[in-house]
């Protein structure tokens, strides 16, 4: 973790710091370690200064934040647009275009969770000078559920009824049913200007989509397709910052090349896909760079198809879990940087349950469990029971070298307990198409982000109604069915106070850890680098991309 996580350090005054140093009598040696020098001695500049080059390994191409898009596109959205309220690194909602975050406490949400009222900031202007009003919020929420629009998220928004503009600075609506995750959904819903779509027949191809107008800290300046996007400081920004004149979002498709350009100084911040773990040792020693390990929100798992006869019995799933040598996989293949986990919730989340039973690698226990459950080795050494052989395929994206090696590790230890695993990898387009979505696999190694921003609701992954293979809508591709989890999801989704909600989700993690529809392996940790002096960069598992707070980034001088 970096010093940036603790902004209070910055509040130590220079005088106080000097006194402290004098007292210790080893001033020169103590400064850097104790104080995170740039934080202590540098405040943001008075006016925007300099430029930042952020590199991504994919090219942002979708600039209307509500069109179907991928993670990297949000790197631009965060700079140009604002949501009503955002979410910080600790999971707290922070007001943006809204004056305050609606809650039951302040009357923004009615006690039953059905009626919402949002007060908006006055005097905010769009980048083209048009005033921002409640009409824009109404337009945005309607656009997301527009039948003809290729919307990237309807879930949640489709519950909104009776959107009413009370005044230019106030909007209200009613929810069809209480839906607590909606606050998190709104925190990743950027407000777009209504006037940019006036007279546009097909909103999927509006001129706005390639020349976005927002309220954010940076304005759209230029795009050289296939190369970079240039954003310019918005001097009229209502919030904190911006502190740099320009942001260049550079597209570098190859991660080795990105690292090279980071070393050469062409790139200031390594963004999405970051520095590969094999470069971590080298990166740490680079002069003039700050390189840190940052936990991501992606959890790697060995996923089971619960409808397959091999996996119906809990003892089998437990035995398989015992037979996975997690730590060796992390150490040997991921340079020891990923952290083992028992939950699908990132460990930095407010809703993470740290008290789940710890995984243990033990072939003996695995064998014992299978023996007791009546799975006896057949003539070829593979266990079987009632005509079912403990043999299955395992798939992931072909060409993902590290995962392919992990599969071989797992294959080997499984073999030791009399389980046959055949590796059958597929190209990405096939793997994550119907094969994954319609649960045609036996087992899969996959990394998933289970949470929608900071919200703990995972109905999409665990509700019994969320399996596409069974005609549901969602990603419960392991075909997991648990009445208890269904109930917990339903109850948790209708409670609006985070402290009260928490218990439902801690319990849910416990149930899933017990049932093991997937065997949790580890939470990804990424290696992120930036040039020394680049200040304000703050890891945040609650948002999908590093530029979530780019308005506050600056160069320490």
């Amino acid at each position: 973790m970096t010093q940036d996580k603790y902004p209070n350090i910055a509040s130590i005054s220079r005088r106080r710091a000097l006194t402290l140093m004098a007292a210790t009598g080893a001033a020169g040696l103590v400064i850097p370690g104790m104080l995170g020098r740039d934080k202590a001695f540098a405040a943001p500049p008075e006016k925007p200064t300099g430029q930042i080059v952020v590199a991504f390994s994919q090219e942002p191409t979708v600039f209307n934040p509500h069109l179907l898009h991928i993670e990297v596109d949000e790197g631009i959205h965060f700079a140009i647009f604002d949501p009503l309220f955002g979410v910080d690194q600790d999971g707290n909602f922070t007001p943006a275009l809204a004056v305050e975050v609606p809650s039951v406490e302040n009357g923004g949400i009615s006690a039953d969770g059905l009626n919402w009222k949002v007060k908006l900031r006055d005097g905010v202007k769009w980048h083209d000078g048009t005033p921002f009003t409640a009409e824009d919020v109404k337009f945005t929420l309607e656009l997301l559920v527009d039948k003809d629009f290729r919307s990237w998220r309807r879930a949640g928004h489709d519950q909104v009824r009776d959107l009413t503009v009370v005044s230019p600075t106030e909007i209200t609506w009613r929810m069809e049913a209480p839906y607590a995750p909606y606050a998190s959904v709104l925190a990743s819903t950027f407000i777009v200007p209504k006037h940019a779509f006036d007279g546009v027949a097909d909103k999927n191809v509006a001129p706005f989509n390639n020349a976005p107008i927002g309220t954010g800290a940076f304005k759209w300046a230029d795009r050289v397709a296939g190369d970079h996007i240039e954003l310019a400081a918005n001097a009229d920004y209502f919030g904190d910052g911006p502190y740099v004149e320009r942001v260049i979002v550079k597209y570098i498709p190859d991660l080795n090349v990105m690292f090279t350009q980071f070393k050469s100084g062409d790139v200031d911040v390594t963004g999405l896909q970051w520095i590969t773990p094999d470069h971590y040792e080298e990166a740490k020693t680079l002069e003039g760079k700050e390189v840190s390990l940052v936990p991501g929100s992606t959890v790697e798992s060995f996923t089971l198809n619960m409808e397959r006869p091999q996996f119906k019995e809990l003892a089998v799933r437990q035995a398989l879990y015992y037979a996975i040598d997690k730590q060796s996989i992390i150490d040997a293949l991921y340079y020891g940087i990923n952290v083992p986990t028992e939950s699908y919730v990132p460990q930095q989340s407010f809703y993470y349950n740290p008290d789940l039973p710890k995984h243990e690698f033990s072939l003996d226990k695995a064998k014992q469990l299978l023996d007791e459950a009546g799975w006896k080795p057949g003539a070829d050494g593979i266990r079987e029971k009632d005509g079912v052989r403990l043999s299955f395929t395992n798939s992931t994206t072909s060409g993902h070298h590290i995962r392919e090696q992990a599969q071989q590790f797992i294959q080997q230890t499984f073999k030791d307990i009399g389980v046959e695993m055949t590796i059958s990898n597929l190209p990405p387009a096939v793997m994550w198409g119907d094969y994954w979505m319609l649960s045609k696999f036996d087992t899969v190694v996959v990394g998933l982000d289970f949470l929608t921003g900071p919200d703990p609701d995972t109905s999409d992954y665990f509700a019994s109604t969320s399996s596409s293979a069974k005609g549901g809508a969602g990603q419960n591709n392991w075909l997991y069915v648990s009445e208890e989890v269904d109930k917990l999801l339903k109850e948790g989704g209708s409670v609006f106070v985070p402290e009260e909600r928490k218990k439902f989700y801690l319990k849910q993690q416990e149930v899933i850890r017990h049932d093991l529809p997937f065997l949790p392996l580890f939470q990804y940790v990424t290696v992120r680098g930036r040039k020394k002096g680049m200040t304000g960069f703050t890891p945040n598992v609650n948002n999908r991309i590093d530029t979530w707070n780019i308005n506050t980034w600056y160069w320490a001088t």
Binding site: V224, D227, D254, K263, S264, P427, W432, L438, D449, S466
Partner: protein
């Protein structure tokens, strides 16, 4: 001559039609498709993706989609990208200059150097120079371009700091000198392999000519070595090179997949790779048609040029 041209054009049209049909079918039959990249997006369901695919007309029979695409193409509409919604032609012409600059420079370097090395090697056959050129060419042909590119970056930009580690220009600068400075490494890396190819072809072609009777006759007439070489040998040896150069035209404009990636050069090669990755059908088809047309024009030009230079060839 005109009849010949008309015939060639007729052939070309049929070829283009075939290329487009096969290309389209292969593309759409390939598993995945434009929606698969969104499969792991949190909060989206397969039903939702299916609905959007239907809106985009992606669930119609392939042949219907092809007919639709062809019909629009015949009216001059190349379609719009699935990624950013902009017209395909705009996108292609945006990436063209970058590729033209890089490939043009690399080709100029490789042809001039390659031809020179080839001639010299043939004239002084089995000399030290010839051996060195042969070995050099073998090495150049066996080294993978991406590796050579990375090594060049490591030495000349990270260690020596002479050239930038990629990109086409410094953002915010963009003066001719800046472009040139960025061009050196990728152009030479690309040319490296091509020099090898050109020099081998040229050496063989020159050797073919050098041993022919008319060259011996020219020497016997008492012409100077120089005159024999440049007037009789090189002129004839260059003829097959023209056809090769004609085939070079599409390569020139369709870009270098690997080098453009290693040097973050925003050209046609990268556009093609990216579009494939995202199953951006309209752009891929646009690029396919674009390079098919170039191949046809290139070979036509080469034939015409050969006929113009070589009096023995008559087009009818």
């Amino acid at each position: 001559m005109l009849r010949y041209l008309a015939g060639r054009l007729g052939q070309s049209c049929i070829l283009l039609l075939l290329v487009s049909l096969i290309g389209y079918c292969v593309l759409l039959l390939a598993p995945g498709g434009p929606m698969s990249q969104f499969a792991l997006t949190p909060g989206i369901s397969k039903a939702e993706l299916d609905r959007i695919a239907e809106q985009m007309g992606l669930n119609r029979p392939i042949i219907v989609q092809y007919a639709d695409w062809l019909w629009h193409l015949l009216q001059g509409q190349w379609g719009t990208s699935f990624r950013d919604g902009r017209p395909v032609l705009t996108i292609i012409f945006e990436h063209l200059p970058a590729t033209l600059l890089l490939m043009g420079t690399a080709t100029a370097i490789s042809i001039s150097l390659g031809v020179w090395i080839g001639i010299r090697g043939a004239v002084r056959r089995y000399s030290l120079f010839d051996y060195a050129a042969t070995v050099g060419a073998m090495i150049a042909l066996s080294v993978p371009t991406f590796w050579f590119g990375l090594v060049a970056i490591y030495i000349f930009s990270l260690k020596l700091g002479w050239f930038p580690a990629g990109n086409m220009y410094t953002i915010g600068n963009g003066s001719p000198a800046d472009y040139l400075w960025h061009l050196v490494l990728p152009a030479f890396v690309l040319a490296f392999v091509d020099v090898a190819i050109w020099s081998r072809y040229m050496r063989t072609a020159t050797l073919d000519v050098i041993n022919q009777d008319f060259v011996r006759t020219a020497h016997a007439k008492g012409l100077s070595r120089r005159r024999v070489l440049f007037k009789h040998v090189v002129g004839n040896a260059l003829l097959p090179m023209i056809t090769l150069a004609g085939m070079q035209l599409p390569v020139l404009l369709s870009g270098a997949l690997v080098t453009e990636t290693v040097f973050t050069w925003p050209g046609m090669g990268r556009l093609f790779l990216d579009s494939l990755g995202y199953s951006d059908y309209p752009v891929i088809m646009g690029l396919l048609m674009f390079s098919a047309v170039l191949v046809l024009i290139g070979s036509l030009l080469a034939d015409l040029l050969s006929a113009f230079i070589d009096p023995r060839i008559r087009l009818a």
